[in-house]
């Protein structure tokens, strides 16, 4: 009986778990494969969360490097995506906290953003701009929950593992984020 048997590991065909084991054994290509599989999703989440592709690239790279350092602590009975996302979520939270001044100046100052947004030829604004603007207006915890639920399609159980928050709190955040987003986007269309 192996340690994996003892731990009730049944997902022997889980490619990510095998890639982790290969990476731990020193196969650099296995870690590269993990990056190729999961980086696009991580980068998307971080871009929407931080409102900046540049910051998102830094956060995502940092998250993967931390994952690489801690690979042997990865619990192969859980999803690699959930694990690396949990690291990324913490990196995004830290970046929002430590770069609050810059973030506030660039993204969260609604009046400044409004003033800077140029109308398109039809006199309205691009939907994509409106969405970015609306996301930036959300409370970070609500934005985080909304993105994980409706953009990354995580279950509430998976979100709870990744964020450390309770399921009922997460549901409340998602619901409030939906309400607020609807309001913000409606206002934007009517503006």
């Amino acid at each position: 009986m192996t340690a994996r048997d003892l731990r009730g590991y049944h997902e022997l065909n889980d490619d990510d778990a095998w890639l982790v084991q290969s990476a731990l054994a020193g196969d650099a290509r296995a870690f590269a494969e993990l990056v190729d599989r999961h980086a696009p999703v991580c980068l998307r989440y971080a871009t929407r969360m931080l409102g900046s592709r540049e910051d998102a690239e830094e956060a995502t790279q940092d998250a993967f490097l931390r994952a690489h350092r801690a690979l042997d602590r990865f619990d192969t009975t859980m999803s690699f995506r959930t694990w690396v996302m949990s690291i990324l979520i913490n990196r995004c939270r830290s970046m929002l906290l430590h770069r609050r001044r810059r973030t506030a100046r660039v993204q969260l100052d609604g009046a400044a953003v409004d003033a800077a947004r140029a109308p398109d030829r039809s006199g309205g604004v691009e939907l994509r701009d409106a969405i970015d603007h609306a996301l930036a207006q959300l409370d970070p915890a609500q934005r985080e929950a909304f993105l994980l639920k409706h953009v990354e399609s995580m279950s509430y159980e998976e979100m709870a593992v990744a964020t450390g928050a309770g399921i009922s709190a997460l549901k409340m955040r998602v619901q409030r984020a939906c309400d607020r987003l609807q309001l913000l986007l409606r206002e934007d269309v009517n503006a």
């Binding site: 650099a28 870690f31 590269a32 990056v35 190729d36 980086a39 696009p40 980068l43 998307r44 871009t47 929407r48 592709r53 998102a56 690239e57 995502t60 790279q61 993967f64 490097l65 931390r66 690489h68 350092r69 801690a70 042997d72 602590r73 619990d75 939907l127 994509r128 969405i131 609306a134 996301l135 993105l147 639920k149 409706h150 953009v151 509430y156 549901k171 409340m172 998602v174 619901q175 939906c178 309400d179 987003l181 609807q182 986007l185 409606r186």
Partner: protein
């Protein structure tokens, strides 16, 4: 009343979410930089299980550097003391996995409500090896049987990681906590 359930996306947000789901493709430069940085980083000394000759060699090296496998009781923060001790004179038993030795971890933490040991040998699971409070109420102990090898470990005192100051420390882990190192050797 809410016009949607938390599991269901309101229809009015469907188009917006479609746009949010547009993929963000990492650039080749970004990927190369990440892989270069990952390969350049020294791996932390985690879950290192050495074959018997290498374990003995590592033990000899540690001892030569002043970090003996058997570490003594030293002062610990808040008046606590700690030790990770391979029992002297204990005959090693042989199992299918090789030589196993009993190692007693102890820490003096009179004000703690719970103490456990976490390390490479239990996948850093705080629930796996709870330490027992001694009759004097000051010392917490647990005995673990370990194969020969080199291990990183730390105490978990009331939910907080604390290194063993009596043992050599490895580099800090991802969360900034230095780990202690223990060599279990057969001689």
């Amino acid at each position: 009343m809410r016009d949607h359930e938390p599991d269901r996306l309101p229809e009015s947000l469907a188009l917006a979410v479609d746009l949010m789901r547009q993929e963000e493709v990492p650039s080749a430069e970004w990927r190369d930089e990440l892989l270069r940085r990952a390969s350049a980083e020294p791996r932390l000394m985690r879950r290192v299980t050495l074959s018997v000759p290498w374990a003995i060699a590592a033990g000899v090296l540690c001892a030569a550097l002043g970090g003996a496998a058997v570490v003594g009781v030293t002062r610990y923060s808040a008046g606590a003391a700690s030790a990770a001790r391979v029992a002297d004179g204990v005959a090693a038993s042989t199992t299918a996995n090789g030589m196993m030795l009993p190692v007693t971890f102890s820490v003096v933490a009179p004000n703690a409500a719970s103490v456990s040991i976490v390390g490479d040998f239990n996948r850093w699971n705080p629930a796996a090896l709870p330490m027992r409070r001694s009759p004097d109420g000051r010392t917490w102990q647990v005995e673990v049987r370990l194969p020969l090898g080199l291990y990183a470990y730390a105490f978990m005192i009331d939910g907080r990681l604390a290194p063993d100051p009596a043992a050599p420390h490895a580099a800090a882990d991802d969360f900034g906590t230095p780990n202690s190192m223990l060599v279990v050797r057969g001689s």
